[in-house]
Symmetry: C2
Subunit: 257 residues, 2 copies
């Protein structure tokens, strides 16, 4: 039977700067009586990597630049918060009263460069995304292999708004151990027709599936382990979420909004 199971690790501890996340994942899996096995795909909310990597900042410690002040005036946001966003931004796509939308330094298009407040201790404390989520995923994967001997994949994920559609979904922002895309182009369908376009962003689909269990509020389940995906996604040693980046020239939606 073709199937997979997704399990959220419960009683996951709060993460502090310097924590060894891989070790905590392995230990918490044990406490959940869950064996880590070859072919498991482990989805991890970016927030706990941010915390472990110390990517957390207090607004009161931020000195806004002149540019940040300008944009703050235009958008109605705090100049200190805008300063944080600018530090993580490659291109500003839109700065209005409604939204500060950017292409971030990682190549990710998202609101506020992914900086947010939820599930971070301290009233004026915000979290940046992990500096390089692919590297975070890679280090975690290798450390899990060292600790358990098992070959797993790690997908770092975060929840974002999408164009044309209400509501947010979880996206993959870092990947290690599996390809981000599953390419059907050139393959045939049930009737022999050769597929021309289908190149599926399976890393995003895994992230989306994981969010159902992670939740957004007090769930405290930032890690979801998938069993059964081994023959569905392609395991590999060299992987990157950058596979999912698209240039403006290639983006079929350009000039459509």
């Amino acid at each position: 039977m073709k199937s997979f199971t997704a399990v959220a690790l419960e009683k996951f501890p709060l993460i502090k700067p310097g924590d060894n996340l891989a070790k905590i994942i392995v230990e918490t899996a044990e406490k959940n009586c869950l064996k880590i096995e070859d072919g498991d795909v482990i989805a991890v909310a970016q927030k706990i990597f941010s915390k472990a990597e110390g990517r957390v900042v207090r607004l009161k410690d931020v000195a806004p630049s002149e540019k940040a002040r300008e944009i703050a005036k235009k958008t109605g946001k705090s100049s200190k918060f805008v300063e944080l966003v600018l530090r993580e931004t490659k291109n500003i796509l839109k700065a209005s009263r409604e939204v500060l939308l950017v292409e971030d330094v990682r190549g990710l298009v998202c609101i506020n460069a992914g900086i947010d407040k939820s599930n971070i201790e301290g009233a004026d404390t915000f979290a940046f995304l992990p500096e390089n989520p692919d590297v975070s995923a890679e280090e975690c994967r290798k450390e899990i292999r060292r600790l358990t001997g098992k070959h797993v994949a790690v997908v770092v994920c975060d929840t974002y708004s999408r164009p044309f559609r209400r509501g947010q979904v979880n996206f993959a922002i870092g990947v290690s151990g599996i390809k981000s895309l599953k390419d059907y182009r050139g393959k045939r369908d049930l009737f022999g027709y050769v597929l021309k376009v289908k190149n599926v962003a399976v890393a995003d689909e895994i992230a989306a599936a994981a969010e159902l269990l992670m939740g957004q509020a007090t769930e405290a389940t930032p890690v979801v382990i998938f069993k059964g995906l081994k023959d569905i996604v392609e395991f590999c040693e060299k992987a990157s979420v950058r596979e999912l980046e698209i240039s403006r020239e290639e983006d079929l939606f350009k000039d459509a909004l």
Copy 2:
């Protein structure tokens, strides 16, 4: 343990116009030794609804309008194919050599109004989306309840490209029995901070998860049954995918592409 399992129904028969899909789903689940239970969420690829509803057309039978000929010239597409797209279109968002992007009659923003060729018998045969996927989902759900006595949810899904991101993912295009959104706004996080924005498109996340098992080529697994989502998504009698529609005014990404 917080978990869910997704199972693809194998040996799913090819669907013909007039087929009772609910009955086929129930029978195929039995053949797979899978019990349909209260709280199951059943994800169904739109293509089999299209086939059962006879939403299939041969290009040779299509007479292109003047407008279709114009757009065909501009885009380099077949005027007959453009005619099909126009029949399903409310607004054309972009018509270029690269893409014909529309808001379809259902309110869905997608390429070619979701009309495609894959897994349809006949060299010049194309499938429209189901006329009203919410209604398709609702009828299927009610028929499954009649046949089994079980209260399930049905999510109709299809695979689309997204702006800013390479690769396609599965989206929900019709829903019955569960809310499409899970709204966290006003709820508190682990540290008491009140969430302001998070309103998660869980129907899209379920669709995305289902695609991992459905695939796009010769898998012949257009139905995926989820077990364990009962306490995660909100079951309800009145549901619609229209919850996921967003007006241009509300879309934070407008003017950003």
